[in-house]
Symmetry: C3
Subunit: 316 residues, 3 copies
C-alpha cells in the first residue's frame, strides 16, 4: 500500500518494472496474489490477464472484454538501484524529479541497507533526519557524539530542496568510531538535503585528526527514501554508501549493522511519538532553534502541495 492505494510491482520479461493498482477490476482480488506471464500479470482468482498498461486482455468464458476492464497503471522508472513510482496524474510524471541517488550504484562506491516498516507518518522521519540535536540523547550508545549537536548549522532553502550544513571541528569520536579503533578526536562535516516526496540525503565526512589513528577520512552518503503507506505509517528504505575500503564486506556488514541499530532506536521513538499524536492530535508543540530545518522542509512541502491543488472556486 502506497499513499493509501494498493499497488503491485512486477517486472516484464526484459526486466523493466511495472506498477499496477493491486485490485482486480472484476471482484477486487489483489493482483499480487496472481502470477506474472511474460510481460503480463494474471489475477489468481478468475484469471483476468493484465497488460503493463493496466488493460485487461483476457477474461474467462468470453471473448468480449468490457471496455471498463482495466486497472490503473503507474509511471515507474528504475534508477540508481531504486524503482521510483509516480502516484499522481500520469501526464505530469517527470523523470527529472527523481532524486540523485547515484552513490548507491556508482563505480568506486559500495553500499548496504534495508527496508524498515515504520508505524509513523513519513514526515516524522524527515524531521528526525534533519535534526542534529537528538543523537547525543537517542543514540548515546551508537552514533551520537555529545559534541556533535546543532549550534553551527546553516540552512539554505531552494525551490525544490532544503539543505543544512554542519561543520564540527575537533570533537569526540562517536561510540561507533571508537568501536572501529578511533581514539583521537575528529572533524565532521554533515550536509543534509531534504527533497520533496520524502527523501533526505545525508553526506557525512569524518576526518581523523591523529593521522596514525585510522585511514584518514570516512566519507559516506546515507540515502533515505520514506514512502508513505498511510497517514500514520511508511516504508523507510535506507542505504549507507561509502567510497573507502569498498571491497571490505566485513566493514559493510559492521557499518550497516551500526546504522540499523541507530535507525531501530529512531523507529522505537518515532512510533511512540506517533502513538502520542494519535492519542491527542490537537496537543500543541513548541519549536526551538534546532527545528529550523524540519520547519523549512514542511513549509517547502506545503507550498508545493498548495501549488498543485486546484484553485478554490471564487464566490459569486
Amino acid at each position: 500500500v502506497l499513499l493509501g492505494e494498493p499497488v503491485v510491482l512486477y517486472r516484464r520479461s526484459d526486466g523493466t518494472p511495472v506498477a499496477l493498482e493491486d485490485r482486480c477490476c472484476h471482484r477486487r482480488a489483489p493482483l499480487s496474489r496472481g502470477r506474472v506471464e511474460g510481460d503480463d500479470l494474471r489475477c489468481g482468482y478468475h484469471g483476468f490477464l493484465y497488460e503493463p498498461s493496466g488493460a485487461v486482455v483476457w477474461v474467462p468464458g468470453t471473448d468480449r472484454i468490457p471496455s471498463s476492464a482495466r486497472v490503473r497503471s503507474y509511471p515507474v522508472v528504475e534508477k540508481h538501484g531504486y524503482v521510483w513510482i509516480w502516484m499522481g496524474d500520469a501526464a505530469l510524471a517527470d523523470e527529472g524529479e527523481v532524486p540523485d541517488f547515484h552513490w548507491n550504484t556508482a563505480p568506486g562506491w559500495t553500499s548496504g541497507g534495508a527496508l524498515l516498516p515504520m508505524k509513523c507518518n513519513y514526515m516524522l522521519v524527515v524531521d528526525n533526519l534533519l535534526d542534529l540535536s537528538h543523537p547525543p540523547f537517542l543514540h548515546a550508545n551508537s552514533i551520537g557524539s555529545a559534541d556533535d549537536t546543532n549550534p553551527e548549522l546553516t540552512w539554505e532553502r531552494g525551490e525544490r530542496f532544503v539543505r543544512g550544513v554542519r561543520i564540527a571541528r575537533d570533537i569526540a569520536p562517536t561510540p561507533r568510531l571508537r568501536k572501529m579503533g578511533v581514539k583521537s578526536n575528529i572533524d565532521t562535516d554533515k550536509v543534509m538535503t531534504y527533497l520533496p516526496a520524502g527523501n533526505v540525503v545525508l553526506e557525512i565526512t569524518q576526518t581523523i585528526r591523529a593521522p596514525g589513528d585510522g585511514p584518514g577520512a570516512y566519507h559516506s552518503f546515507i540515502l533515505n527514501a520514506m514512502t508513505p503507506e498511510t497517514e500514520s505509517s511508511c516504508h523507510y528504505f535506507w542505504r549507507n554508501c561509502r567510497d573507502y575500503e569498498i571491497g571490505n564486506a566485513e566493514l559493510t556488514k559492521f557499518l550497516c549493522g551500526a546504522t540499523a541499530t541507530a535507525f531501530e532506536e529512531d523507529k522505537a521513538m518515532l512510533e511512540h511519538q506517533q502513538a502520542a499524536i494519535d492519542l491527542d492530535p490537537e496537543a500543541p508543540e513548541v519549536n526551538i532553534k534546532g527545528d529550523l530545518g524540519s520547519i523549512q522542509a514542511r513549509r517547502l512541502l506545503q507550498s508545493l502541495l498548495s501549488a498543485e491543488a486546484p484553485p478554490a472556486r471564487a464566490a459569486a
Copy 2:
C-alpha cells in the same frame, strides 16, 4: 455472534436445541459462560436462571422477579444434522424454509465436513460457489480442471432459488481425481443451487469415460451454509456427502481433506478480497458473463429483502 447479535446455543435434557440471546438481562454477562441445569441455563455471574423461553425463573436474594427479566429466545429446529436458527420476528418463523440438506444424514449416504471461520462477508462465499471460472486458477493444484470452466452454464431463477447447470463432456480429470488413480477423461455434471439466507447446494456427478479406470460415477453433494457473523465475517459450515463406498473411512478422510484444501485456498483469496473492499468500499467492479449466477443470487436476495422491509411512510 450471528448477524451481529450474541447468541448462546445449548441442549435441553431431551437433547432439543435452545438458542438464547447471549447477554444476561441483568448486567449483560454472556450466558455462554454459565452452565446448563436440566432444561435451563444459569448465568455464571450472579446465577440468574433462564428457561428455554428466555424468561428468568430465579434471581439471587429475592423471590420477586422483575417482569422485564428475560432475554430473547430464537426459534430453532434441528434437521439433517444441522441446527437452524430464525433471527427475525419469531411469529414469522417457518420450518418449511429450512433448506433440504437431507443427504447429510440420509441412509445410503456418508459425509464429512468442517466449520471454517471466514473474515469476509458471506455473499463473497456465495459468489465464489456459484462461479465455475475460478477453479482452474485458484484451485489449479486441487479441484480445478482447465476444461471445466463456465461456457456451457445455464441459469434458472425461481421464487426462492437460483440454479445453474453445467454439462461438461470428455474433459481432463482434476488433480484430485488423478490422485485417486483416474487417468482417462471424464464427463461432469454440476448443479449449483443458491438458497436465500446463505446456502448453496452443489451436486456434482463425475463419470469416468474409460470403464476400467474407476468405479464408474462419483456422485456427491457439497452442502454450504454461510451464517453471517458481522458485515465482514461469517461462519462457513460445509459438508461433503456421497453415495458410493460409504463404508470407506479412508476415502472420506481423503475427500474431505481435498475439499478442505480447496476451501482454504478460497478463504485466503476471499479474505484478501474483503480487505481490498474495506480499503476502498467505493472502488468500481466489472461484470462478465461468468458472473451471471452470482448477480442473479444477489438480485433475488435484494428482492426478498425489499419485500420484507416495512413500506416507507407516504408523504402527506
Copy 3:
C-alpha cells in the same frame, strides 16, 4: 494512561513522587522513555529537561527557552504505600480526600497484593465489589460460600461514601477456609465501603464457631483502587491486609494467591461483560435487590460529577 491522559511517574532524589504529562512539549515524544536526572526528567529524544513543576529548564542548542515550554504537572501525594494523583484543576486538589488505606502500612498489620490490568470500565469493578450475590456462582471454587449471599445486607449513604454491612451467622466455610483446615461453620461480618474516584474498602471478619477448629477470628481488609485508563479499561490495584499471623510469609502467599485467583475469575467475567456492552451499548439492564449498593454508588458518583460540572448557561 490515566483518565485518557498520558502520565509519567518518577521520584525525586529525596524519594518524593512526581507526576508529569507523558508527552514532551516539543515534539510529543513520551517522557517515560527518558531518564531521571536528580529531581528532573530528561526527554530521551532531544534532551529537553523538565523540573517537577513541568517547566523546561534546558533545550538543545540555545539558551532561549520558550515560555510555553512546559508540560502539565499533577499534584501527587504518597500515603499508606500508594501514590495518589489528582487529575483535575490543581487548585482544587485536597489531600483530605485521599482514602484511608492505613491498614496497608500500619504496625501490627501485613499485606500483599498486585496490579491487575482490566479491559473494562472501572465502575464494573465497583459493581462487582459491592455485590454479595455473585461469589457462590463466579467464585464457587475459591471464596464463594453458598450461604454467604446478600439477604441481610443493609446500606447507608453518606455525603462521600456508600457503605453496606452484612452479618452472617453459622454459615458454611468457603472453599478457601476449608483448604486452611476449617471444618466447622463460621460467622462472617462484611463491611463494604465505596469511596468516590474508584475505591472500595472491604472489611471482612470470619469467626470460627468451633473453638478448636482454627485460630479464632480472621480479620482482613481488602483495599481496592481502580484507576480509569480509558472508558473501557482500568488499572486495578488491590491489597489484602490482615492483623493475624503477620510474620507468616507462607500464609501471606497463600491468601494473596487465593485472592488473585478470585479476582482473575472476576476479570474474565467483567471483560466479557464489557465486550457485550461494546457490542450493543443500548441494550437494557434489569435491577434486582442485590444491586442496591452499586446503584447507590453510581448515584453518589453522578451527583458529585454534576456538582463539579460548570453550570449550563441560562437561556436569555
